[in-house]
């Protein structure tokens, strides 16, 4: 899932970029880790110091059939799951979210932050024996950057590309028009074999269903809508992956996948909160399986339309936040496995300023704020109004998002107690999005999910990013926030940049363009035999080697693993 969630909300690149990387220093270890995950959170590391067992098959689940296995055209989680084992990236994240060498053995950044020089590994080869060359890299980056390719993830990452060219037999140079602090993360990117794609239509190339691997596994068979079988790539140039074979079953239904796990027909599956709760009491589950849970960089929020007559005033938006009992949501809905946030970052991100406390659940203060803003209940009908307009709104939620629906139900109840009538309305995703992008809504449940570490608040909160240009669906506008975000994007010194982002955090907490709700967890269930699991804020799949480092142990994990990520403290 390297790439899985990386799209939309955080369009850009990822990771934390070090100031030092920029000084044309040789970098295999360019980036000082962003405050490493506190041990108390219990991220799992079963790989360091362990001896893997080689051989056997791991049976994995896909929620949908991949539409393509073209690494540049991928857009869905299921595609990323498979491609992640077939195609190595130029760079990868390690479990501390540092960028580490992948196909590239080293890289340098020019002092102006605009030019990157990569050196490819000499030993890296495609499964047909041809070496991975700068020609492949140049072709891939040019392809991804060209609008005709329609590359959903990588297209936007290379929008500012100025030039890309080979620089010797193993090196290539990429130059951008502007410096951008989080640019480096764009290179967590797989390559296309130029010798097979040259001159072909990218979208219709037969290789999209028969990809050429340069990674630990190679595709053996693919039955559409049913299963994919991967076997070890004999020509893989890196360390041998423990499993000889990986099968993927396409199982759209969660309940079916859970039953398959219990029957031993799957070794792993993602689970939802309801199933996770069930695993605690299900003796069948405890006997064969374990649940893994860890905090991610995902967070949920309720967008408020800052242009609507109801939420144009920051006092009203703050009041709305104070009427939502987020602590109760964390305790009840997430069973303690979530953390209330005070701003637009996950607590695991260095951009999050732990010194900014969330606004309290405080209906009395909220009532005062609403009164100050001119919303009062003059006729005693329990409903606030202002200049003849009743405070009655609709809160939208995408259908099928059960957690989101329960959050907005809680909000509706909270607002109701504060004299605001709120009705919850569930809409199919596309209809939901159309309302949001046209600004035809008052409040809506949204989430930010990113499989990379880029915290750049530009896409969601900069006033230049109002739809249709961008993703600022709150239509928020704060000149000071805009200035700080612009400065942070240009600031190549990490310490200074984080200071700027911390100020953005504090300002957005006070300005409350949205109700920031909570940081959430990734939930997964495994057969106990599967070992070598590593979790991080990027989840089980966002770091290298991820699933390519799992193995089957004859001695299964014994005690139920304490859910990584611990409880809310």
């Amino acid at each position: 899932m390297n790439r899985a969630g990386r799209l939309g909300l955080a369009l850009a690149l990822a990771g934390t970029l070090s100031c030092r990387a920029r000084e044309m220093a040789r970098v295999p270890a360019p980036t000082p880790p962003p405050a490493p995950p506190p041990a108390a959170l219990g991220y799992l590391d079963e790989q360091t110091g362990a001896t893997p067992v080689f051989g056997g098959t791991v049976r994995r689940r896909l929620v949908a059939d991949p539409a393509t296995l073209n690494p540049i055209l991928q857009s869905a989680v299921a595609e990323a799951q498979v491609i992640g084992l077939l195609s190595r990236n130029l760079l990868d994240y390690d479990r501390t979210l540092r960028l580490v060498p992948g196909l590239a053995e080293s890289w340098q950044v020019s002092s102006d932050g605009r030019e990157f020089l990569f050196r490819l590994r000499a030993e890296a080869v495609w499964e047909d024996g041809t070496p991975v060359t700068p020609t492949d890299a140049v072709f891939t980056i040019r392809t991804a950057a060209s609008p005709e390719a329609g590359a959903p993830i990588f297209g936007p990452l290379f929008e500012g590309l100025e030039s890309v060219q080979a620089a010797g037999p193993r090196a290539f140079k990429v130059r951008f028009r502007e410096p951008y602090a989080y640019r480096e993360m764009a290179f967590v990117m797989p390559l296309l074999p130029e010798h097979l794609y040259r001159g072909k239509n990218l979208a219709r190339a037969p290789q999209n269903r028969r990809p050429l691997s340069n990674g630990p596994y190679t595709l053996e068979s693919w039955k559409a809508q049913q299963s994919l079988v991967l076997v070890r790539n004999e020509r893989y140039w890196g360390p041998r992956p423990p499993f000889d074979r990986v099968t993927f079953q396409v199982v759209p239904e969660n309940a079916t996948a859970y039953a398959m796990l219990l029957r031993g027909e799957l070794d792993e599956t993602g689970i939802d909160a309801g199933t996770l709760a069930r695993t605690n009491t299900d003796p069948d589950f405890g006997a064969c399986c374990r649940a893994i849970e860890g905090y991610t960089l995902d967070w949920s929020y309720i967008a408020l339309n800052n242009r609507s007559p109801f939420f144009a005033d920051a006092r009203v938006r703050r009041a709305a936040t104070m009427l939502l009992d987020r602590g109760a949501i964390v305790r009840g809905l997430f069973r303690g496995r979530a953390r209330v946030i005070s701003g637009p970052f996950a607590p695991e991100s260095p951009a999050y300023d732990a010194n900014v406390p969330p606004l309290p659940h405080d209906p009395a203060s909220a009532a005062r704020l609403l009164g100050e803003a001119g919303w009062s209940d003059d006729d005693g009908d329990g409903l606030r109004s202002k200049e003849g307009r009743d405070f009655a709104i609709e809160i939208l939620v995408p259908s099928g998002n059960e957690i989101g629906r329960q959050i907005v139900e809680t909000l509706a109840a909270g607002l109701g107690a504060g004299g605001i009538r709120a009705a919850v309305r569930s809409l199919e995703w596309n209809a939901f999005l159309e309302k949001l992008d046209s600004g035809d809504y008052e409040a809506a449940a949204l989430g930010s999910s990113a499989a990379d570490a880029n915290p750049d608040p530009y896409f969601l909160w900069h006033s230049s990013q109002w739809p249709p240009a961008g993703l600022n669906n709150c239509f928020s506008k704060n000149a000071e926030v805009d200035g700080l975000i612009d400065a942070a994007r240009r600031e190549l010194d990490e310490g200074k940049r984080l200071a700027l982002l911390h100020r953005v955090h504090a300002l957005l907490n006070a300005d409350a363009p949205a109700i920031f709700v909570a940081n959430t967890t990734q939930k997964h269930a495994f057969r106990r035999t599967v070992r070598g699991l590593v979790t991080s804020p990027l989840g089980l799949f966002g770091t290298w080697p991820g699933p390519a480092g799992w193995w089957a142990s004859p001695q299964p994990a014994s005690a139920p693993t304490p859910a990584a990520g611990g409880g809310a403290s």
């Binding site: 989680v77 005709e148 936007p156 269903r209 079953q249 396409v250 039953a259 029957r263």
Partner: protein, 343 residues
């Protein structure tokens, strides 16, 4: 009901064969504007639904694409052109038996349909045959003695079955037979058998649960239909006459009452047959069955216009053909219709 539409007016002259030919031809001609109407309607519905293949891309994880990328993708799919132009292009392709290519994986729509069709046809065909095979004897037995203990008992059970939601039944059956008892496989078309083809027994075992889920509803409905037909016919003169000629009760019911009771079932079959092609979204999802229902559902969520249109067209054609076939069979089976034709 097919009769009125069929326009069974007195056609003088010509034998039954030539009447049938003309009848079929006319029905086929009438089907063309109907089909066109359906196609236009579906095309409009699909394109006027909120969202586009571009916005649908992020549905999975609440992810989104930037405005610029969205514009590029729209241009790539030809969605930047006006609706009438798109319709014209689509219709002219369809006239050449080309359904276009899927927006999702850029493969021909016909390929994707061909991949899924056999699975759905197998599942739904088996379910339909099974439902008929069970419903008819059940209906005759119940209708033979209306309000008798068997009629009342089977009636209660059938009504319960008819109202049982299939997703619930599917999960229940999975839990019982696949997880607890482990008698039957949980999902899919066949077990993993790397290297060899799965055996017939394995394939049949995989069909048991989904076929059960698809069967019981139809079974209940058809059985009640047969039952009421038989119950009505058993009082009819021709059945009494048959009894008085010395036929046993059983013979009279099966040979004389049942054929009359089957006439509405034939009409109903015309409506059930297209289901062979449309598939069942819920059952195919739960049992991870790679059929047309799942393809249709996924395509709608993804706003994969060419696939949605291709499947809708297929469904419309199948419905029209099946109703036509049912009317023809009805005409042949019903002596009154036959006489009507000849006079």
């Amino acid at each position: 009901m097919g009769l009125a539409a069929a326009g069974v007016r007195a056609h003088t002259g010509g034998g039954r064969g030539s009447f049938l030919t003309r009848y079929v031809l006319r029905r086929l001609l009438l089907a063309v504007p109907t089909l066109l109407g359906i196609v236009v309607l579906v095309f409009l519905l699909v394109h006027l639904a909120p969202g586009s293949p571009v916005t649908a891309r992020g549905a999975e994880g609440g992810r989104r694409v930037s405005a610029r990328a969205a514009e590029e993708m729209k241009r790539l799919y030809g969605l930047d052109r006006p609706l009438p132009e798109r319709f014209g292009a689509w219709i002219s392709r369809v006239a050449r038996f080309d359904l276009g290519e899927s927006f999702v994986d850029r493969r021909p729509v016909s390929t994707r349909i061909k991949e899924a069709l056999p699975y759905t046809a197998l599942l739904n065909g088996t379910a339909l045959l099974l439902a008929l095979a069970l419903a008819i004897p059940l209906g005759v037995a119940a209708g033979g003695r209306p309000e008798g203990p068997f009629d009342r008992g089977s009636g209660a059970v059938l009504f319960a079955l008819y109202s049982l939601p299939s997703f619930w039944a599917a999960l229940l059956l999975q839990t019982l037979f696949a997880v607890k008892l482990r008698w039957l496989p949980l999902y899919g078309v066949a077990s993993d058998s790397y290297g060899g083809a799965p055996g017939l027994g394995d394939r049949l075992a995989h069909m048991v649960l989904p076929v059960t889920c698809l069967t019981y509803g139809t079974l209940a409905f058809v059985a009640r239909l047969v039952r009421s037909g038989v119950a009505e016919a058993r009082e009819a003169d021709y059945v009494l006459a048959a009894r008085s000629r010395g036929l046993s009760r059983r013979q009279a019911l099966w040979r004389h009452a049942l054929p009359n009771a089957m006439l509405p079932v034939i009409t109903l079959l015309g409506l059930l047959l297209p289901a062979l092609l449309s598939g069942s979204v819920i059952v195919e999802r739960i049992f991870a069955w790679p059929g047309l229902g799942r393809l249709y559902f996924d395509s709608i969520l993804a706003r994969d216009y060419p696939v949605i249109l291709g499947l809708s067209l297929l469904g419309a054609v199948a419905t029209l053909l099946a109703t036509l076939a049912a009317d023809i069979v009805l005409a042949l089976a019903d002596p009154r219709v036959k006489d009507g034709m000849l006079q």
